[in-house]
């Protein structure tokens, strides 16, 4: 019943398995707060775009589907950004800088093309929620390493004593690549071991 929901979390995790959305992941994993903010904003937009595209899929001729999806996604993101800025300024202040990044997030277009354009509303909603959780989880894992080791803090609160010397490079752009490489390697190792075990 909920298999479309759970597949995005581990088995088809958008970042770890499909390797989509790497660019915004590099940019927003410097702190755990930012990672969760990006994940929340991303999930909201993905739910909206999956639902709309699933609803209008029968009207869109196959030859112009990609431009149609892009128009829908870009409009949706712009409208959400303006509504948030006006009516929920506190959330906007926290998430506002990530919203323009979502337009260039290829997971949204990827899910529209690979899933929502071929499935009904209920399945598309599950798919969006699952992929949203999976992406947020992936961002949070990377951000935890980067923030903890790069600043000695989590959510901006010091975790280690004052004697800890932060590994500054981890919160710089280069550190995003380094951390992501290690995390991807670990995830691949676990997945391969799992596959061997289960044949």
């Amino acid at each position: 019943m909920l298999k479309e929901l759970t597949k995005g979390i581990i088995k088809e995790n958008p970042l770890f398995v499909q390797l989509l959305g790497v660019c915004p992941s590099l940019a927003t994993t410097g702190s755990l707060t930012n990672a969760l903010g990006m994940g929340a904003a991303f999930t909201m937009v993905l739910i909206g775009s999956n639902l709309i595209i699933s609803a209008i899929k029968s009207f869109i001729p196959e030859q112009v589907r990609i431009p149609s999806y892009i128009v829908v996604i870009a409009s949706l993101v712009t409208v959400i950004e303006m509504l948030m800025e006006a009516f929920v300024p506190d959330i906007y202040a926290a998430l506002g800088i990530f919203i323009p990044l979502i337009v260039v997030n290829c997971i949204i277009l990827g899910r529209a093309e690979a899933f929502a354009s071929k499935h009904g509303l209920w399945s598309s909603l599950q798919d969006a929620v699952g992929m949203g959780i999976g992406f947020t989880l992936a961002l949070a894992i990377i951000a935890t390493f980067r923030e903890l080791l790069g600043t000695g803090k989590l959510f901006g609160i010091p975790v280690f004593g004052s004697g800890y010397q932060p590994i500054l490079i981890l919160i710089l752009p280069a550190g995003a690549f380094i951390t992501m490489g290690f995390v991807f390697a670990a995830v691949n190792y676990l997945r391969q071991r799992n596959e061997v075990r289960h044949g």
Binding site: P61, V79, L83, E85, F87, L172
Partner: protein, 187 residues
């Protein structure tokens, strides 16, 4: 064939029209609220760098790194000026707001509004530990940055001397202009 092409064109046309209408509608719905909020944010920043904020009037802008000057009047008497300056830091321009009280030529506060400095180093310029030390400084002489600050000097951020110098350079640009223009040679 041409019927097929016109069908594609027509679908895209309709879709784009609907989307544009929605975006335009959302813009109209939200633009007043957003503008009001932006104005309130600016006012809040003015208050932070200049707590005795009175009625603001626009002053002539001399150019250079000084982007804006506002004159604050309390009961018809000038009680200070608020400068917005953009010195160059390590990662591009910083936008810094500087409050100066008049006529006693003291800093009432600064606020780094925008910066693109190194996280964990220069980005600390927005934290009160650095920016808080400016309030109350006497501007008779230009401010100086030091790694071991004493007296009227500004304590530099560890490992971010360029950023620290940039902020102080911005404050000094405001100070120089203030001394030359508004303090009638008393400085």
């Amino acid at each position: 064939m041409s019927k097929f092409i016109s069908k594609l064109t027509f679908t895209l046309l309709i879709l784009c029209t609907i989307c544009t209408t929605l975006v335009a509608g959302a813009y109209n719905l939200t633009k007043d609220t957003i503008a009001a909020r932006a104005a309130a944010d600016v006012k809040e920043s003015y208050k932070q760098v200049f707590p005795q904020l009175g009625d603001l009037t626009q002053e002539k802008i001399p150019g250079g790194i000084i982007q804006d000057i506002k004159c604050s009047k309390e009961g018809g008497k000038v009680n200070g000026y608020i400068y917005t300056v953009t010195p160059s830091g390590y990662g591009g321009e910083l936008t810094v707001m500087v409050g100066i009280s008049s006529p006693d030529a003291k800093l009432t506060g600064i606020k780094v509004l925008k910066q693109n400095e190194t996280p964990g180093l220069g980005a600390k310029s927005t934290e009160p530990q650095f920016s808080g030390q400016f309030a109350g400084k006497n501007l008779k002489d230009p401010l100086k940055v030091s790694k071991q600050a004493k007296g009227e000097e500004i304590q530099a951020i560890t490992a971010a001397t360029i950023t620290s110098r940039a902020v102080v350079k911005g404050v000094n640009a405001a100070r120089d202009h203030y001394m030359k223009t508004y303090s009638q040679g008393k400085g």
